[in-house]
Amino acid sequence: MSDASATERDSAWIALCDVDELPRAGARVFRATCGDIAVFRTIDDHVFALADRCPHKGGPLSQGLVCGHTVTCPLHAWVIALDSGEAQAPDAGRTPRHAVKVDAGRVWLQAARMPEDADAPSARA
């Protein structure tokens, strides 16, 4: 990214919402400069954040069914692991992750992709 201030802004921690504002076994969307980010809350109250684009054909993962630590894409039912962003076999592909943390019931997010995912192929819209 060429714009240094944007990089800085994206790597800062953003206070998103309270955990309770995320539906359990569901997700909501944060519209970041780099694109939509899906913020998931699982049945056991873990919180994950992935780019809101399926590695298959760009389906909005935030709209999928959340089961265990996976989400099933609403368009063609690829199953994506929430922790790694990897598609479950036989499908192959990876969705970039974003760092999230929960602190005293508050959800914090970094709008920049996780460094190790920075080169993850971006899904076709």
């Binding site: 206070a15 998103l16 076994a25 909501r28 760009g58 909005p60 999928g64 089961c67 609403p74 039912a77």
Partner: protein, 824 residues
């Protein structure tokens, strides 16, 4: 030898010890099933008499014929055992099962204590009680060693006699012939494969094998085998005095379950080791599976039933304790390249059965279907076996075929199936031909996956390739490919299909449990039925939610997070993540005021596409999710439920109000039906149509319930479908008044709501339970019809329009972006 018994149920790793005797197909399949559901339960030791890891015995025939190599047929290589921490002792048979000390020991002196034993010793070739059976050059056909001996014999000797013209004998004869030997088959009955084929098919088979140069001597009894001075076989003598020269004799006269070890251990055996429906022997610590067992008086010699046993045994070894084995229907396919033969069930028939036969001996085709009442109970196919798996499925599922009867003989292809270019013959398809149109999977990919991953079942093919995993219309083709590649019908999926991978329970089990135990929430169901996953999967959760709501209306807890996005958002998701909105237009009618409001909404929310749907209403496509609640508010029209497994449209024609042919007021009946039944959720979507005369402009013939006006009243048709597989609706009943139409329609739909499986449309539901059953409940029994109708009305009473924005659903935060409330 260390043979002291340790007390307590634990092995070296603190786990109970499981010892498997027999390293063959049934034993290892059981272990695979066990590892899949309860990976760390046992400390496992496997004993095998053969010096090989587990291989696919079925494929010995292609190996003998020179079409595959030994390496290709290994199922579980040494690395598989290592990866699962399984100790393997091969090359030495188990000689003792000591039930007092609880140890298993082999000839080589290894002795292992156990807590549970699984016996899977298979069977051995039968031997005729005649002189000379012990001569060199006389073989059975069972394992790699036999196959190697035959291959070696074929390289040096020229004359072979195969005794027995059953499946194994003919495969051996063909293999030896392929290797250049001069082969004669001696068979006692008058036709080949008499246990699988009737006389007509047997003769066709004999003709084509004879054309390959195999000679046959039928109705012939072997009396002795004669050897030379070195003790090697040289001739076969028949009872009528005929002498056949032979350097190799293969005896394929049936199999005998290997029960010696079990018998010596004092376990109850008859022909096989006797087991109950949980595959337990008379000693509760000892289970047995495979060809060595006898279950309900029956022994089996094909893999499909053994795999079903394996599933049940694994379930009990894993201490789940609920699944049962109830016997199997089996099917056979001869694995001789170039000969297509399929047989299943009771192909001979009896005085209670009827037969449909198509015979074209000149063209080399013969088909026979045996029916008992409305069920298919047997079939023999020769020359054209494309429909084998379909017929087998109809038999296994005990499907009512009364309505298919006229077309049954012509096969599944004849039922109409869109999206496959009319392609229904897997065998003749080129590798690059597309099989699964939804996921773009071509034949070559499926064939490769079956070979590389040694797949046996349809479910496995789906998992590895996605073929037939979406709309399912190519399931038949995929099963055919599985049959041709794997060489046998071991694609047999058990009748009782579990709901999904999270459970072994079937749809019916779950429905019963919800009703009988009065379960009211998804967690309660999962807990009660011991789900394997903490919160299910995308397949079971929506099903459970439906079963709860349809069983306990106004009482069960709805879980929006277990609904597919369309049902959660109350709109249909589109490929770009936007949504479509389809408001309800009663019976396909609208007004100037509605059209004006629609036009305003389109302008106000910049909706890119407005389309008339195939269901007589208007679709607004490309609406942003955040705009949905406002769009509904401004439209001020009821929800069309285009997003739901629910009543969709009631199509109507203009009818007697305007049309010069109309004899009944179809428009108003359609509107009344739609007003009475809208908001009705169901196992799948439900579509109705009402036409005002038999010209049927509303296409009532392909609807879940289609109604046609005639002079004297209304004809009701049910279970039509216009989608993937076009099915014409079947006549249900004729009634006089509109009120009767409503009551019959409602009662039929309530029966479907209460007994249908999730994602089963009325056409599949009726195929499963039978149209007669539905008629008995709805048409013949007035009291039952009332009951059903009243329960439907109770379920629908006071249900809100989900689009009413003041409803909690409409106000859910789901529609709001997070960014809008957060300050970076």
């Amino acid at each position: 030898m260390t043979q002291h018994r340790q007390d307590g149920d634990s092995g070296a790793r603190g786990r109970p010890r499981l010892v498997v005797i027999g390293n063959g197909m049934a034993g290892m399949r059981t272990l695979e099933e066990l590892l899949a559901i309860a990976p760390d339960t046992y400390d496992v030791t496997v004993f095998g008499a053969e010096p090989h890891p587990n291989y696919n015995r079925i494929l010995l025939s292609p190996v003998l014929a020179g079409e595959q190599a030994f390496e290709d047929i290994i199922l579980n290589g040494p690395d598989w055992y290592a990866a699962h921490d399984i100790r393997l002792h091969t090359g030495s048979p188990v000689t003792m099962l000591d039930r007092v000390r609880r140890t298993v020991s082999n000839e080589a002196g290894v002795s292992v204590p156990y807590d549970r034993v699984l016996i899977a010793t298979g069977a051995r070739p039968g031997r005729l009680p005649i002189p000379g059976v012990d001569l060199a050059g006389v073989l059975g056909y069972r394992d790699i060693a036999d196959t190697e001996s035959m291959i070696a014999a074929a390289a040096t000797a020229s004359r072979a006699v195969v005794i027995g013209g059953g499946l194994l004998g003919l495969e051996a004869a063909n293999g030896l012939r392929c290797r250049g030997m001069d082969v004669t088959v001696v068979h006692l009955p008058a036709t080949l494969m008499e246990r699988q084929l009737d006389a007509a098919a047997g003769r066709l088979l004999q003709k084509s094998l004879a054309a390959r140069g195999i000679r046959f001597v039928l109705q012939a009894q072997t009396s002795a085998l004669i050897g030379d001075d070195d003790g090697h076989v040289r001739a076969v003598f028949l009872a009528d005095g005929t002498r056949l020269a032979a350097d190799l004799v293969v005896m394929a006269v049936g199999i005998a379950p290997n029960v010696d070890l079990a018998q010596r251990a004092g376990l109850h055996c008859r022909r096989g080791i006797v087991v109950n429906d949980t595959l337990q022997t008379f000693d509760p610590r000892i289970y047995a599976v495979g060809e060595c067992v006898e279950h309900r008086g029956q022994t089996y010699g094909l893999v499909a039933p053994l795999f079903e046993m394996a599933k049940v045994a694994a379930n009990h070894l894993a201490a789940r304790g609920y699944s049962r084995y109830a016997g199997s229907v089996t099917a056979t396919k001869l694995k001789v390249t170039g000969i297509d033969l399929f047989s299943a069930g009771d192909f001979e028939g009896n005085e209670d059965t009827e037969e449909i036969v198509l015979s074209d001996p000149g063209g080399g085709t013969y088909k026979k279907l045996v029916l008992q009442g409305d069920r298919l109970v047997g079939s023999v196919l020769y020359g054209d076996t494309v429909d084998g798996s379909w017929y087998f499925g109809l038999m296994r599922d005990r499907r009512n075929v009364a309505e298919l009867r006229g077309r049954l003989m012509f096969g599944e292809a004849n039922l109409g199936d869109t999206g496959h270019q009319g392609q229904h013959r897997a065998a003749t398809m080129p590798d690059e031909a597309e099989v699964c149109g939804c996921n773009g999977v071509c034949k070559g990919t499926i064939v490769r996956a079956i070979r590389e991953h040694k797949l046996f079942a349809l479910e496995d093919v789906r998992r590895h390739t996605k073929a037939s995993a979406s709309c399912g219309s190519c399931t038949g083709l995929v099963e055919q490919i599985l049959m041709t590649v794997a060489g046998a019908d071991y694609s047999a999926t058990p009748t009782a299909k579990p709901l999904c991978g999270c459970t072994d329970r079937t749809h019916a089990d779950v429905r019963h449990a919800i009703r009988d135990a009065h379960l009211l929430s998804i967690p309660a169901v999962m807990h009660f039925l011991e789900w394997r996953t903490p919160d299910g999967c995308a397949r079971c959760r929506p099903a459970l939610n439906y079963y709860l709501l349809s069983t306990w209306p106004h009482e069960a807890q709805d879980d929006p997070q277990s609904r597919y996005i369309n049902e959660r958002a109350l709109a249909n998701i589109q490929k770009d993540g936007s949504f479509s909105v389809v408001p309800r237009m009663w019976g396909g009618t609208t007004s100037a005021a509605e059209l004006r409001r629609i036009a305003d909404v389109v302008d106000r929310y910049r909706i890119p596409t407005v389309k008339i749907t195939g269901g007589q209403r208007i679709d607004l496509l490309g609406v942003q999710k955040q705009d949905l609640p406002a769009v509904w508010r401004d439209l001020d029209m009821p929800s069309g439920h285009a997003y739901a497994k629910a009543l969709r449209t009631v199509k109507t024609c203009v009818g007697s109000e305007w049309c010069r042919f109309g004899v009944q007021d179809s428009t108003n009946l359609g509107i009344d039906l739609e007003r009475a039944l809208w908001r009705m959720v169901a196992p799948h979507k439900v579509k109705l149509a009402v036409s005002g005369c038999p010209r049927n402009c509303a296409e009532s013939g392909i609807k879940d319930v289609g109604i046609i006006g005639v002079e004297s009243g209304w004809e009701i048709y049910v279970a039509g479908n216009g989608g993937i597989k076009t099915e014409v609706a079947q006549f249900f009943v004729k009634v006089k008044t509109a009120a009767e139409v409503l009551e019959h329609t409602g009662a039929f739909l309530q029966l479907y709501r209460e007994e249908g499986h999730y994602l089963e449309r009325t056409v599949h539901f009726v195929a499963r339970v039978g149209l007669d059953y539905c008629r008995r409940q709805v048409v013949d029994d007035e009291a039952r019809r009332r009951e059903l109708f009243d329960r439907l009305m109770f379920a629908l009473r006071d249900l809100p329009d989900p689009w009413r924005v003041d409803q909690p659903a409409g106000a859910r935060s789901e529609y709001a972006l997070l960014g809008a409330t957060a300050t970076p």
